[in-house]
């Protein structure tokens, strides 16, 4: 405190940072502010202008005249069954993608966690290596692999296993593949962190008490890895629900995901208020699992202490 009064610049800055809690400042700037802007647009009316929505505050000749708020955009979302179907479809696709990630990621995380430490780090590096290349490029690369004249089809045709190219692109299959491919590391890392901490004496103890290896896995490893499973699933599920790139590039015309609807509302229909309402509702849908995740994390932190 006294240092701040003394006016040593760096010291008082440090004090300021501590006082305002930098993380909260960060959240305020990069999360709450954009959200409030979206919220503001979602209660406006669309107009043909720049920007294409009515202002929140009405300014007349006498100055401030009041707030202009409409809930018609939300009403529109609920009246038009189309949006409900898309929300459900997005949740469903994200859920299936998450389960696929879990089924694939759990054995991988388990395998890595049981390796000798040196090899563990190599394998973990391999898991996060794809992040060194742009996400967009990697999704694009799948087009080259999956399309009718792509490497996979060409190879299968050449070997004679098939005599007509398989339709692997522009359908839900491609979207699931994209989700699993892109989000698998987010599943593996929290699971690995959990499984690596498992006290192996517990498995010996289970064996000693009469459990076979698979029974020890079901009775001990699996229940103790639940926090890792939940963490990994939420890290995959939450971003996957709002995913735009994967369904846009790999999905077909009938692939219904909310990310594409958002894009269409913003850039095709130029209806910013409805688009904003769509994303506010999406946020509300996801806020419950996010808060659950937060609570789980704080609980884990407390348990770790």
């Amino acid at each position: 405190m006294s240092e701040a009064k003394d006016g040593h610049d760096d010291r008082s800055l440090l004090w300021l940072c501590r006082a305002v809690k930098l993380p909260y400042f960060w959240l305020l700037l990069f999360f709450l502010m954009p959200f409030l802007i979206i919220l503001k647009i979602s209660v406006a009316e669309p107009i043909v202008a720049q920007p294409p929505f009515t202002p929140l505050l009405e300014w007349g000749a006498q100055g401030f005249e009041g707030l202009r708020i409409t809930l018609s955009n939300y009403a529109f979302l609920f009246q038009d069954g189309y949006y409900g179907i898309i929300y459900l479809s997005s949740l469903k696709m994200a859920a299936i993608g998450t389960v696929l990630c879990l089924l694939l990621g759990y054995p991988m995380a388990y395998f890595i966690a049981r390796q000798p430490p040196g090899r563990r780090h190599m394998l973990l590096l391999a898991v996060i290596l794809p992040f060194w290349i742009s996400f967009l490029l990697r999704v694009y690369a799948w087009i080259g692999l999956l399309n009718n004249r792509g490497i996979i089809n060409e190879f299968l045709l050449w070997t004679g296993i098939i005599d007509a190219p398989l339709q692997m692109l522009y359908n839900d299959f491609a979207v699931y593949l994209g989700i699993v491919y892109s989000y698998l590391p987010f599943m593996i890392l929290p699971l690995y962190a959990n499984l690596e901490r498992l006290n192996l004496d517990l498995l010996d103890a289970a064996a000693d008490l009469g459990a076979r290896r698979w029974q020890a896995f079901v009775d001990v490893t699996l229940p103790l890895s639940v926090p890792g499973i939940i963490g990994g699933c939420l890290l995959v599920f939450i971003p996957a629900v709002g995913e735009f790139t994967i369904p846009a590039l790999l999905g077909g015309a009938d692939t219904l995901m909310i990310g594409r609807v958002l894009w269409d509302e913003f850039f095709v229909n130029r209806d910013w208020p409805v688009a904003s309402a769509v994303s506010v509702v999406l946020l509300l849908l996801l806020i419950a699992p996010i808060m659950w995740f937060q609570r789980l994390q704080t609980r884990e932190h407390e348990a770790a202490r």
């Binding site: 010996d204 289970a206 064996a207 000693d208 008490l209 076979r212």
Partner: protein
């Protein structure tokens, strides 16, 4: 030992365990009797834990075999052995309550639920944990965890219970108390216990017999008294209790006795020896500190070894005093004396010239 009417419960026959180029257990043979409380004592890295893990079935011997109750266990997995292990870390399942932890082994056995409940309750009562049945392990103290681990490993009524450093994680006071409780439970149940420990006091007070391990081999097997009073070699003598080791040159032999010249103490010593004829040259003898009498006057009586020296250090512990006495040639001898008489003044003080003496029969001849 090989009494045909009482075959040993555990027979370890020439068991060896090698990891790459390290031999952890080297051709160990042991017989453990039914109902015994057997201790395997040794420093860290002596192979005692590896031997224990082979008994439990977690490690496969490189050579030799293990028989339990006459059946060859070498290829039997841990979940099928009539053996349970109490882990040093206790290894309690953190997501299960005390009751669930104890019941786990019975559930895996496929016992009907009412029977499980009954046996778990019985077991928890025995270790005095009944009121804590619903708690999770994280809410238990160290001593309570230890008792849960004990109950969990005993509830399946194993033929053989293995205990890996059972008291190491407890503080001193609790350790002494638990030691007696453990021996008591063993006596009540009659289960054969094998305790692995690095703590000689623990082994001495708990066990009916002790195997001292050193560098993967059994250095000596015997009752606590045998191991303490008749150590088989230098390692056992030095590891179990305090001892004075004395080097000497053989100068004569007669009537089952050896005469030695100990230059380090500047003294002539006598030691009993069954077959003195084969021993020659340099030998090592030992004497326990409490066997030595310290006095300012020359000791009377025959059949005693006598050494002269000066008191360099004195530790007063109330019940006993420890002296470090330096002989004329510079070697130091440890002596402990019970303070039998009530007196604020010690009869022997710093820098006193003293005589150290002990019976010829208390002198230990160490051949290796």
């Amino acid at each position: 030992m090989s009494d045909p009417d009482h075959p040993p419960l555990v027979r370890i026959e020439g068991v060896t365990k090698r990891y790459d180029d390290v031999t952890a257990v080297d051709d160990v043979s042991l017989e453990i009797l039914k109902g015994e409380l057997f201790a395997i004592l040794g420093g860290s890295g002596c192979g005692k834990t590896t031997l224990l893990r082979m008994l439990a079935g977690f490690e496969h011997p490189t050579g030799g075999r293990i028989l339990i109750d006459g059946a060859d266990m070498t290829d039997v997995p841990p979940y099928e052995r009539p053996v349970n292990l109490m882990f040093q870390s206790y290894a309690l399942f953190p997501h299960m309550t005390v009751e669930q932890n104890v019941a786990y082994g019975l559930k895996k056995e496929g016992l009907p639920a009412p029977q499980i409940r009954e046996r778990v309750a019985e077991m928890l009562a025995m270790v005095k944990l009944g009121p804590l049945a619903g708690r999770k392990p994280e809410k238990l103290s160290g001593g309570e965890k230890q008792r849960v681990a004990l109950a969990r490993s005993l509830v399946k009524r194993p033929k053989l219970l293995l205990l890996d450093e059972p008291l190491a994680a407890l503080d001193k006071k609790l350790r002494e108390h638990t030691q007696f409780e453990l021996a008591n439970i063993q006596y009540q149940l009659g289960t054969t216990f094998v305790v692995v420990t690095h703590d000689q006091d623990e082994a001495m007070t708990l066990a009916s017999r002790i195997a001292v391990m050193h560098e993967g081999k059994i250095a000596q097997v015997g009752t606590p008294g045998e191991v303490y009073e008749f150590p088989a070699n230098r390692y056992v003598a030095g590891f179990v209790g305090n001892i004075n080791l004395i080097e000497g040159q053989v100068t004569g032999r007669a009537n089952g006795r050896l005469q030695l010249r100990a230059d380090a103490l500047d003294a002539e010593l006598t030691v009993a020896c069954d077959e003195p004829s084969g021993i020659d040259g340099s030998v090592c003898v030992a004497v326990r500190p409490e066997k030595i009498t310290i006095s300012r006057e020359a000791p009377a009586g025959a059949d005693r070894n006598v050494v002269k020296g000066v008191v360099r250090d004195l530790g007063y512990f109330g019940d006993q005093s420890l002296y470090r006495v330096r002989a004329r040639s510079g070697a130091v001898v440890q002596v402990s004396a019970q303070n039998l008489r009530r007196s604020a003044k010690l009869t022997v003080e710093w820098d006193d010239e003293v005589y150290l003496s002990w019976e010829v029969g208390s002198t230990i001849l160490l051949r290796t």
